[in-house]
Symmetry: C2
């Protein structure tokens, strides 16, 4: 029996299963409590004040963001302890100062002397001791200094001696996304912990302050066995989960809270294709599962109630067309989908699919209640 | 000398080189005039009323769209002859009727009897003869009926006899994107023309009306040698162009009017990486050039004035980080980019990169004038 509340929704559109989302949020909150660290959820996945209320401790607790636009929106919503976890560019510091003046404690991130000098100079010029973390590299994934790099102490001194508030160190085990399974992620988590704790000790041994020791990625956050020396844990996509996270065994398909509702608009029966109105504009161009053991195409096909239909994925997309077809290795029966049939597609990557949409349609935990709409924002 | 007008822009942001855009628009308008067909530009690439004014004949001339949201925005802006070139789903017909009642002649597209019956029934129920085109398949790319499919006449009769306005046939040579070079695209264009002209003749031989014979894709529109029997030409990405179109030789790199302005935020010098603030959120996840002869990564790196810097592409992206590095085969020198340096990245796919942004910053044709802002919209 199809949920009649979905009938009135224009397709394609973004659906959230609130019960699953709450379960995902509670799962990581329990882990953080058990590990004895503060949870600082990353809001870049959901970019929604309503979703943030559900995700953050007490509705306004510590948060992580990926853009200043996020910081500005969430600060206006009363979320005032925010970490901007992308290396600061000097010309963005005027907006950082404006956020502080508006009552938001925004911590910036950096990994080089040029950034540190800019933050120190802006601290002096503004009369604000801008809080900053130094990014540590644990796996060669992207940014950050290794704990044995002499630049670590140099950057720390520029900040501390220059009038900024050196708050500590941060690490993101980006390579954990390429590892599969709990044991592998636990190893990545320990590598992440060691790198950042070592860096904290280097700063402290040099007489510099380092109260914050921050780690996190969704895979390591769910696998860490011990976070001794760490003060806070970050993760983002876990609130929604997606097929990529299923592929590396951080969650099950039934944990994925985000989907795209679509309508069948035609067929190419000779080719076994069903054409639907969820193209890449609705799904995003993310093909993150392409290199995984199971390539999920542009997404896994479910019925309108969210039950996976065996053997079917979105095999190709154009801007506003999705082609639903059989997985290469599937030999079972495939149902017919008359024109007008509603289906749901589970996405490869919740951050990327979410970003294609201006709002969520939320299926509330209370299954009898009306659907809710959560506005979503983008931009920088 | 860097254009100082760009200094105040927050990065990442979307730039349009208006002079290039006008040149691209004029190029295809001249071709359409020479070929003796009406040009019906596809507005799905730019999704902007300001861009539409520049692109459409007389500022409001015939247009193509990919979503009803586009039709609604453009109709409110006085663009009243619109083709919605994605197969209609029956539950969208109430919005089609509303557009007609608001004075917009919106033509729908379909390729099956279920859709045709829905359009005919809605025509009768509303008292409007809803105009419809039948989609023709010339290359097995996606949707459409072949001209020898008995369903073609069946669908035509359902529309015509059922009270809709059977306007004609439409074909999109989607496979032309996989062909390289003018001669290959000219062949695709002839295949597209023959398929749709044959289909028109099938309908006319059956006593059905077929005043409109519509073809188009950016590659075929730029290569067609003869459009006998065709009445209108569609294309979309040509107004901006992109690296994908460069890769199949429809345009030069210097024709690309769209770019993303970015700021350098750090380095991993041992790996030869420059980190910038244009991640996949700014560029999109589109990797359309991955399968071309030259893989352009996530984009080609230019200086702030738009001059290509030899040997550099965005090799990887995270949500808000881009990694700029050497092309695998490049052995020349690479300049240093201090933190704060502004660069421009040319995109793989203008439709996908544009969709990540809420506005264009336009460098006007008159090079002394101030930058303009063109709002951009999305959604369905």
């Amino acid at each position: 029996m199809t949920d009649s509340r979905l009938d009135a929704l224009p397709t394609p559109c973004l659906l959230v299963d609130e019960a699953r989302m709450v379960r995902n949020i509670d799962r990581l909150a329990d882990r953080a409590a058990h590990l004895g660290v503060t949870l600082r959820p990353h809001l870049k996945t959901t970019k929604s004040v309503d979703a943030a209320r559900l995700t953050l401790t007490g509705g306004t607790g510590p948060a992580t963001v990926s853009t200043l636009a996020e910081a500005e929106v969430f600060a206006r919503a009363g979320i005032t302890d925010i970490l901007y976890a992308v290396g600061i560019s000097p010309d963005k510091l005027d907006r950082v100062v404006a956020l502080h003046r508006a009552g938001c404690t925004l911590t910036v991130l950096l990994d080089n002397a040029e950034q540190a000098r800019a933050v120190a100079e802006t601290s002096k010029a503004s009369g604000l001791k801008l809080p900053a973390l130094i990014e540590i590299d644990c796996d060669g994934h992207r940014s950050g200094l290794t704990s044995d790099d002499p630049a670590l102490i140099e950057v720390g001194r520029i900040l501390h001696d220059g009038g900024a508030d050196l708050r500590g160190v941060l690490c993101h085990a980006g390579d954990s996304y390429a590892a599969v399974g709990h044991a592998a992620h636990a190893e990545c988590a320990e590598q992440e912990r060691q790198a950042v704790v070592n860096a904290a000790n280097v700063l402290r041994d040099a007489g510099l302050p380092c109260p914050v020791v921050s780690v996190g990625s969704t895979p390591t956050a769910h696998a860490a066995q011990d976070l001794t020396g760490v003060t806070e844990l970050r993760a983002g996509v876990y609130a929604m989960f997606d097929l990529f996270m299923t592929g590396i065994e951080v969650c099950d398909v039934d944990d994925i809270a985000l989907s795209v509702l679509t309508t069948v608009i035609g067929h190419q029966k000779a080719r076994g294709w069903t054409i639907c109105d969820a193209g890449w504009m609705a799904m995003s161009r993310d093909r993150g599962t392409a290199a995984q053991r199971v390539d999920q195409g542009y997404g896994v096909v479910c019925d309108a109630d969210g039950r996976v239909i065996p053997g079917l994925i979105v095999t190709q997309t154009n801007q506003e067309h999705g082609v639903i077809a059989r997985r290469p290795d599937y030999t079972g029966d495939i149902p017919d989908f008359p024109v007008g049939t509603k289906l749901r597609i589970l996405p490869n990557h919740a951050c990327a699919t979410g970003a294609q949409h201006g709002q969520y349609h939320v299926i509330p935990k209370n299954t009898d209640a009306a659907l809710k709409v959560w506005p979503r924002f983008g931009g920088w």
